[in-house]
């Protein structure tokens, strides 16, 4: 086998032996090692360990936030978010691709893959989050008239109304089932957002936001992004140490371990310039891709591939082997005293 395999490569250009790349043939002893038994024991150990951890600690399952639960818990935050969806100033409204063209995609120099790929999950926040859901409400002619007067008004007029409402809703309160908003020149926007808030609190908005307007749904992009635009979800996450500045991606709700293997990914968000950069995501992903590539290509990278030899941790791992060698050296036998194993007969 050895000879055949060696011969097949024998025609290659010979290179100097590099201890970080090449090995010497093992012509020493082979000892019994039952791989199947090892695997079965490992399987039993892991199964018992996992069962034990599951019995002792169970697993977390915090209830999801719905538009209903959000608007019920914090109607004012909902109304304040809804107006930013209507006037196009929310995070999603100004996001850019893949949702819309209102924002700039992240870039590093001329490199902007998100921009190149463009809009793939179109979201028009004013229409999708406010106007279209309100249009589904039956038997409310006054509300429908308000929506019509808003949609048929000039952009300038719309902006005047929404700006006035944004100012007023900052001081809003919620009392006995209704939003209390200081008076102002916000025209039809007042009844629109109030109705949307009632709709949200009834649970009807959750259904109306689903992307595919059909009975079955598996895509929650629209309601999720709407909820994420509010401060309610972020505050809950902050309380659970899940936000980006808290290394949140590697954490889990409660006191459970999370995705600890993401430590390096989350680390980059905590250090300059990524900490404050508006292109942080692309920068961090770029760094992680380069580092992942480096890890995969360690065997090819001079210096990096020598670390194991320099650190000499291998001396600990193979200490028995090195002890055997020095014992044999003392008794005058070389380390490769044993005859090479006879080749296995094969069809080659």
């Amino acid at each position: 086998m050895t000879v055949a395999a060696g011969a097949s490569g024998g025609s290659r250009r010979r290179r100097r032996f590099n201890p970080d790349r090449d090995v010497e043939e093992w012509h020493g002893k082979y000892l019994p090692y039952d791989l199947v038994k090892e695997f079965l024991i490992a399987l039993v150990v892991v199964s018992v360990l996992v069962a034990g951890l599951a019995v002792i600690f169970s697993s977390p399952d915090d209830k999801p936030v719905t538009v209903k639960s959000w608007s019920t818990s914090d109607a004012v935050d909902f109304a304040q978010t809804a107006i930013t969806e209507l006037d196009g100033t929310s995070a999603i409204a100004t996001y850019g691709p893949p949702y819309n063209t209102a924002g700039t995609a992240q870039s590093i120099g001329p490199f902007s893959p998100n921009h190149w790929l463009g809009v793939h999950h179109p979201i028009d926040t004013a229409n999708d989050y406010v106007i279209a859901p309100l249009r589904t409400l039956p038997d409310q002619p006054q509300l429908q008239a308000a929506v019509t007067s808003y949609t048929s008004a000039s952009p300038d007029q719309q902006a005047k109304w929404t700006t006035a409402y944004e100012k007023a809703v900052a001081d809003a309160t919620f009392d006995r089932g209704a939003l209390k908003i200081p008076r102002g020149p916000y025209g039809p926007v007042g009844p629109m957002i109030s109705s949307l808030t009632s709709m949200a609190r009834s649970g009807a908005l959750d259904g109306a936001l689903l992307s595919s307007r059909q009975f079955y749904s598996t895509d929650y992009t629209k309601p999720l992004l709407f909820i994420a635009d509010g401060t309610y979800l972020a505050n809950l996450a902050q309380g659970q140490h899940l936000s980006g500045s808290q290394w949140g991606m590697m954490n889990e709700t409660g006191s459970y371990p999370g995705q600890a293997w993401l430590w390096l990914y989350t680390l980059w968000y905590q250090v300059p310039p990524m900490k404050t950069s508006s292109n942080a995501d692309l920068q961090v992903w770029g760094i992680m891709m380069v580092l992942t590539l480096l890890l995969a290509l360690v065997p090819f990278i001079p210096g990096l591939r020598s670390i194991p030899r320099w650190t000499r941790i291998y001396r600990l791992i193979w200490r028995q082997h090195y002890r055997d060698i020095s014992a044999k050296a003392v008794t005058g036998k070389g380390p490769t005293a044993a005859p090479p194993p006879s080749p296995v007969s094969s069809t080659a």
């Binding site: 000892l31 019995v55 006191s255 028995q320």
Partner: protein
């Protein structure tokens, strides 16, 4: 039957409740949950244990 259900519930429920708010360690800009710190610490400990604890071969010294 009821007892069986109770046994099952205690078996499949958690004995130690980890659903409460987590504890976090802050050290400069580093912020890590105690749970993750325990996992990472155990990894390091297990790694060094694995290379330091003597391993006895099946079948002893061979031939």
């Amino acid at each position: 039957m009821q007892m069986l259900g109770a046994v099952k519930d205690s078996l499949v429920g958690s004995l130690i409740n980890l659903t409460g708010p987590g504890k976090y360690v802050h050290w400069g800009f580093i912020q890590i949950s105690v749970a993750n710190l325990v996992v990472i610490g155990l990894m390091v400990i297990v790694f060094f244990a694995a290379i330091l604890i003597p391993f006895r071969r099946h079948g002893g010294r061979g031939r």
